[in-house]
Amino acid sequence: MTSPADVLLRVTDLRTHFHLGGEVARAVDGVSFDIHAGETVGMVGESGCGKSVTALSLLRLVDPPGRIEPGSRIEFEGRDLLALDNEGIRRIRGNRIAMVFQEPMTALNPVFSIGDQVAEVARVHAGASRKAAWERAVEMLNLVGIPDPRERAKAYPHQLSGGMRQRVLIAMALVMNPSLLIADEPTTALDVTIQAQILELLASLQQKLGLAVLLITHDLGVVAEVTSRVLVMYGGQVVERAPVRELFANPRHPYTRGLLQAMPRLGDHRDRLAVIPGTVPPPTRWPSGCRFRDRCPYAWERCATEAPPEYPAGNGHGARCHLVDEPARDVALAAPVA
């Protein structure tokens, strides 16, 4: 359905490690994925799975002791981002690839009006005049659904609600017409009715602007509602990837299954929730073999000795799990409801 020419971003074997005096935290450890122009890809996982570090790595925003290891490749619009000099990557950031973060409170500067802050992006990247930049800011605030944008542009961040601030951040991200927007937990800090507004806005902007979105979240509900393809992360790796319907209908990795069963859902009257036992190990001490094995109800000897590659499972579906290779072992397990 997509030709190679459509590939906007191609990440190959991305490894971002943190060198902490003696120990190495392998926060991102061999992540590969493509994003095509105009599509919304969800990246889902729990804290410590490496999803945020992946996002920062794409823009080379990882600070020491973090380091993108040699051998990693990030190609964007045909350019090798890891080969660019500092000036080159600055021209990509906020211009071709923009980013929206979780915390709308701290991401805005409290001493400048929101109009100034949106206009600043246009001045830095496009060298726009003060007046043209301001006009562009008003236009962007209008685009993200801020009522009465010409007046509200003069407001300061503390005068806005959390949802409005998140809209301002999205406006700032979109000033330069980027082709890719990375949204890292953009609605996590917001109330559910406001979250619905922001998700709706993201979807409509994506349609209107032909924008590709990498949506990073811990919430499978959000993933189901707005993305077309999903990457499930665990232990610094993509453990499962699939088109969204396929993933929810037929999850192949035990971790994905565990997440889906552990969620309380509306209208679900189970007495007890299924749990994934244990917690995520620290990134300095991933288990040998499969990184999920000590929490996995299926694990057998092979999982300890042999790290699973990503096995293709058809229909653009793939999972880093030996079960795909040995389907005979993939018997229905009574969900652990401990």
């Binding site: 007495d271 007890r272 749990v275 036992p277 244990g278 917690t279 620290p282 652990p336 409801v337 401990a338």
Partner: protein, 304 residues
């Protein structure tokens, strides 16, 4: 369903907690190891403190005893390493004994100030309401008057003071800043969930304050007190220089500097050497206090 309680635990049970990171004492030690400036400052202070403590054993002469007339205001020599003063007393011995007075008075005065300031600020911050307003207006008034004027106003009644009296006077004029600091920390800590949890467990207000709130004010207080000693050393020297120091023949560095001011042109060493001791001490204290603040993440201090 089988008894699920044990299984819900088994599900979780065993992830080993992460290794310990050091507490405040460990972090202080780490600062001293890593930061050469802090190491030097700590060494200098240790040396000066040792000199003060062991002055009676290491001083070559009696600091109060005038020597023979020949020895009046002599320059440094092999007998009198730092020379003698106009009253023919050995300057090195006087500086060593002066260190006891200067540092002793300053340290104790800061201790008094810290205790008073902590109690005052803790009460204001924890009780709040009108108690807070009354207590803090006293602090505001105290901070509105320059400390040196306050001190001169008080000591003018006595002209010279005994060392304990000086400690009390310096302590009682120096706690205003500390009380503000403690009040701010207490107000922040008492709103934190663990302090609320302690109240919800039925702990008495005193218990909550002592166990859950005050310990969180201790780190910034330690830094403030360290820097406070540096300030008080200077203030005490200033008072002594103006003639309001400890009564003779005891002497602080300020007294000794004052002794030399008449003969500065002919016998510079009388003022310069105690001046160097004073400057070195204050510099070392300030460097150390500043590095500790950076390392312990204590807030910037309010005006003393």
């Amino acid at each position: 369903m089988p008894d699920a309680t044990p299984s819900s635990l088994a599900a979780f049970a065993d992830t080993e907690p992460a290794p310990t990171t050091p507490g405040a004492p460990g972090r202080i030690a780490a600062v001293l190891r890593r930061d050469p400036a802090a190491t030097v400052a700590a060494a200098v202070l240790l040396l000066i403190a040792a000199a003060a403590v062991f002055a009676p054993w290491i001083a070559p002469f009696d600091p109060a005893l005038p020597l023979d007339v020949e020895a009046r205001a002599q320059p440094p020599s092999s007998i009198h390493w730092l020379g003698t003063d106009p009253l023919t007393r050995d300057l090195l011995s006087r500086i060593l004994f002066g260190a006891r007075v200067s540092l002793g008075i300053s340290f104790l005065a800061v201790l008094v100030a810290t205790i008073v300031g902590t109690a005052w600020g803790a009460l204001a911050g924890y009780v709040g309401g009108w108690v807070d307003r009354v207590l803090m207006s006293v602090v505001d008034a105290g901070l509105a008057i320059p400390r040196i004027l306050l001190l001169l106003g008080i000591v003018a009644f006595w002209r010279t003071l005994s060392a304990p009296a000086l400690v009390v006077v310096l302590g009682l004029t120096g706690w205003f800043g500390a009380s503000r600091l403690v009040r701010a920390e207490v107000q922040a800590a008492r709103r934190r969930d663990f302090a609320i949890a302690a109240r919800a467990s039925g702990a008495s207000p005193a218990r909550v304050l002592v166990r859950h709130v005050l310990p969180h004010a201790m780190t910034p207080m330690l830094v403030a007190a360290t820097l406070g000693v540096g300030q008080v050393v200077v203030i005490e020297a200033g008072l002594a220089f103006l003639g309001y120091g400890v009564a003779a023949p005891a002497a602080s560095w300020g007294n000794i500097i004052r002794d030399g001011r008449e003969v500065l042109a002919t016998a510079w060493w009388v003022s310069v050497f105690p001046g160097i001791a004073l400057a070195l001490t204050v510099l070392a204290i300030n460097v150390l206090g500043d590095r500790l603040r950076a390392a312990l993440g204590a807030p910037q201090l309010p005006a003393p």
